[in-house]
């Protein structure tokens, strides 16, 4: 057992840290989120040029053969910088689906384009009827003329506004809440009959509601086998949770450290705030809880990377702790910054909001606690 980073991982971490410290200040970031698509295109191209988009894909298709652990290292750094580019949507979710279940043809068509930064993808799986239930799929795919026709709607699809391709779950057989009979398709973002309602999320990112009316896909747009995508969907959701958890850890680290710095500077009652024991203990609690989530994130990520049967249970526990601790650290960061903590101007506000959205994604604290206890 060795929990230290390899030399390559250390280099990867250093390169992201350097990029964020020199080119990704929080004020720059807050400009990027004002773009229509919610991020900066030239940054995305830099991610491609630096090899970050290639990291987790297999070498056969131009990737660097990394694992979920490498993905964790990257997202933790992205979390510290509050990076808004669509890495999770494109690489961790869409890209992983192609890598895991795509045909050779699909991989050749899509993976190199992702790696070069030319293809933005996303994953549309949730529906408003019961968003946390991965089998609650009312969107229908009806076989027709050698292809399929899609009808229905999808909720909270991140980065759909900038996506070229959307990985979308639809029912090819069975009843609305059956686990069986679900399939995954790649839908062109410009497809006729696909309409979007775009909106910002609390943290400044972009999401959309998708409506599909007689959207035509071909049979070779199917990802994985017909009617039995539920396992793959669960795997993708797990990858999404691990990615968000790593990002959350980065954000929590920045929050507790910023709070320490602030309380050392800020004077009240003729003392630095950090002189007050009640505040020192609060910050110690933030540090302790942060470390527990970090431990579980490392563990769950490594278990997932080796397809351990224990992974699923640990992922539920992790998402529960991410939500609970994210709120604890975010709330206390605001509290200890006092009135300043309530302003948009301070970076901590944005980290707090990101943590709230992370809790909401892929099932929140309560949902995963229930899954964990079974």
């Amino acid at each position: 057992m060795d929990l230290s980073l390899t030399n390559e991982q250390q280099l990867l971490q250093d390169s992201i840290q350097k990029f964020i410290s020199t080119q990704y200040s929080i004020s720059e970031r807050n400009k990027f989120i004002k773009n229509d698509q919610g991020y900066d295109n030239s940054n995305w191209q830099k991610f491609a040029d630096l090899g970050w988009l290639a990291m987790t894909f297999s070498e056969e298709y131009g990737g660097l053969g990394g694992s979920t652990v490498d993905s964790m290292i990257m997202l933790e750094e992205f979390g510290k910088g509050l990076v808004v580019e669509p890495f999770l949507s494109t690489v961790v979710l869409f890209g992983a689906a192609i890598e895991l279940a795509g045909t050779q043809q699909q991989k050749q068509n899509l993976i190199p384009a992702i790696i070069e930064g030319k293809l933005i993808g996303t994953f549309a799986y949730a529906e408003s009827v019961e968003p946390n239930n991965l089998s609650a799929i009312q969107t229908r795919a009806t076989a027709e003329d050698g292809g399929f026709q899609l009808n229905g709607s999808k909720s909270l699809v991140f980065n759909a506004i900038s996506a070229n391709k959307i990985l979308l779950s639809a029912r090819t057989s069975g009843q609305d809440f059956d686990e069986q009979g679900v399939s995954l398709f790649i839908v062109d973002a410009q497809a006729a009959g696909l309409t979007r309602t775009d909106y910002p999320t609390v943290d400044g990112l972009r999401a959309s509601e998708l409506h599909l009316e007689n959207v035509r896909v071909e049979s070779d747009d199917l990802i994985g086998s017909l009617g039995s995508a539920s396992g793959l969907i669960q795997s993708l959701v797990n990858k999404g949770i691990l990615g968000l958890a790593a990002e959350a850890i980065g954000a929590m680290e920045t929050l507790y450290k910023s709070t320490i710095e602030y309380t050392k500077q800020r004077q009240q009652f003729d003392h630095a705030l950090a002189d007050f024991q009640v505040l020192r203990h609060r910050m110690t609690d933030m540090f302790v809880e942060y470390n527990l989530v970090k431990s579980l994130c490392m563990k769950a990520t490594m278990l997932e990377a080796q397809n351990s049967a224990e992974a699923q249970r640990n992922i539920h526990a992790l998402k529960y702790l991410v939500g609970k601790t994210g709120r604890f650290i975010g709330q206390n960061a605001v509290q200890l910054h006092g009135g300043m903590g309530m302003t948009e101007e301070l970076a901590i506000a944005h980290y707090f909001k990101r943590l709230l959205v992370i809790d909401a994604q892929f099932g929140n604290t309560d949902h995963h606690l229930n899954k964990f206890v079974g």
Binding site: M1, L3, H281, T284, F287, V288, S295, L296, L369
Partner: protein
């Protein structure tokens, strides 16, 4: 980054498990045959003293082997060793004792024929241990110290043959200075031990009164006035050992099994969302804490000192121990009320409340949680 143990470590783990299965006395024999168990550990080549260096008869475990060893011992609920001699005094003797002291005291520690207790806390020196007042005055001829004062919370003083004791030989300078480390025989006529019965109804701690006890200077460890330095290193060690993470894993499993015995509506207590969610929250944190211990181990194995994560272990580990004991009194329901009754209510419930009450001590001893937080704030976070 790799979560797996190496082949060698896995083979070692197998060896430890096989040893335990072959040698651990079963059921009630666990208590009557304790000595046999410890003898088997000794015969294995120092497994009774896993942390000792090879030159003193230790097994020379790597940090990972030591972790695996502790893990399996805890998982199999093997009889605990009384820590005062083997775990606490021995390292101080090895580092600071004279050759003569080592030759005199180590054999009795090793074969557990001599019981030790720790004379640190006093009525006025709890978390602020350096505030201790027990006075040791050097005789005019320089041959002995005359010791007067009171120690308290002295665990197992009533069965101890000896006490290692912090005394004050000087009041000049900072209060950490002028503390001297002495070894005191408990059968001295000036030593009086009185029991303290704690909340849980049990007697394990005591008050120890020291009146004109003559302690030969040959019983002093190291130099006069340096006792604080000798004791301090050990306190850190004591704290990391108190997290009891694997014990908590077992205790939580037991608490769940107990709750399944309690009927609630159509099902058991474990089917009630309010109870089940408490269990789940606790279990999730325990999973995280378990891996935090491995992170600490990984750093030690890599040749770094234990990182800041290690300071979390006692703080969080004891909190979790207490929360598990709360589950037990909740599961006991009305049977949390009877005291000392042998045949009322389900079996687990009979010890539930005393276990819960006794367990309140875990966040107080070995440095109260508030002190731990001060330590983390100062040494890890650079606050204050």
């Amino acid at each position: 980054m790799d979560i797996e143990f190496s082949e060698d470590d896995l083979a070692f783990q197998q060896k430890v498990v096989s040893f335990i299965e072959a040698n651990l006395p079963k059921g009630m024999d666990m208590w009557t045959k304790r000595n046999q168990w410890f003898q088997a550990l000794r015969d294995q080549g120092g497994w009774d003293v896993p942390k000792w260096p090879v030159e003193y008869g230790g097994p020379g475990f790597t940090p990972t082997q030591r972790y695996i060893f502790d893990l399996e011992m805890a998982r199999h609920a093997t009889p605990p060793q009384i820590p005062f001699g083997v775990g606490m005094l021995a390292p101080i003797l090895m580092n600071y004792g004279s050759k003569q002291q080592i030759d005199r005291f180590m054999p009795g520690i090793r074969d557990a024929s001599v019981n030790w207790c720790q004379g640190y806390s006093e009525p006025g020196a709890g978390s602020d241990l350096a505030n201790l007042k027990t006075k040791a005055e050097l005789s005019d001829d320089g041959s002995y110290y005359l010791v007067n004062g009171q120690k308290t919370w002295t665990t197992l003083a009533h069965i101890a043959h000896w006490m290692f004791c912090l005394t004050r030989t000087s009041s000049a300078g900072a209060k950490q200075e002028g503390i001297t480390f002495l070894l005191i025989p408990m059968d001295d006529p000036g030593v009086e031990t009185r029991p303290i019965i704690t909340l849980g109804g049990s007697h394990s701690v005591n008050e120890v009164y020291l009146t004109d006890v003559k302690v030969p200077v040959t019983n002093r460890i190291g130099e006069e006035g340096k006792g604080w330095t000798y004791a301090k290193g050990l306190l850190v060690h004591e704290r990391t050992g108190l997290a009891g993470i694997q014990n908590s894993v077992l205790a939580l499993e037991k608490a769940k099994a107990n709750a399944r015995l309690i009927k609630a509506g159509e099902g058991s207590l474990m089917d009630l969302a309010s109870f089940k969610n408490k269990v789940g929250a606790l279990e999730a944190e325990l999973l995280a804490l378990e891996f935090t211990e491995l992170r600490t181990l990984s750093q030690v194995s890599a040749g770094q000192g234990p990182g800041p994560e290690s300071s979390i272990l006692k703080l969080k580990g004891t909190e979790i121990q207490q929360r598990i004991s709360e589950l037990n009194i909740e599961a006991a329901g009305i049977y949390a009320a009877p005291w000392g009754a042998k045949s009322i209510g389900p079996e687990f419930a009979r010890g539930a409340t005393s276990g819960y009450l006794g367990g309140r001590a875990t966040t107080i001893y070995g440095g109260a949680s508030e002190v731990q937080k001060d330590v983390i704030a100062k040494n890890v976070l650079g606050l204050g």
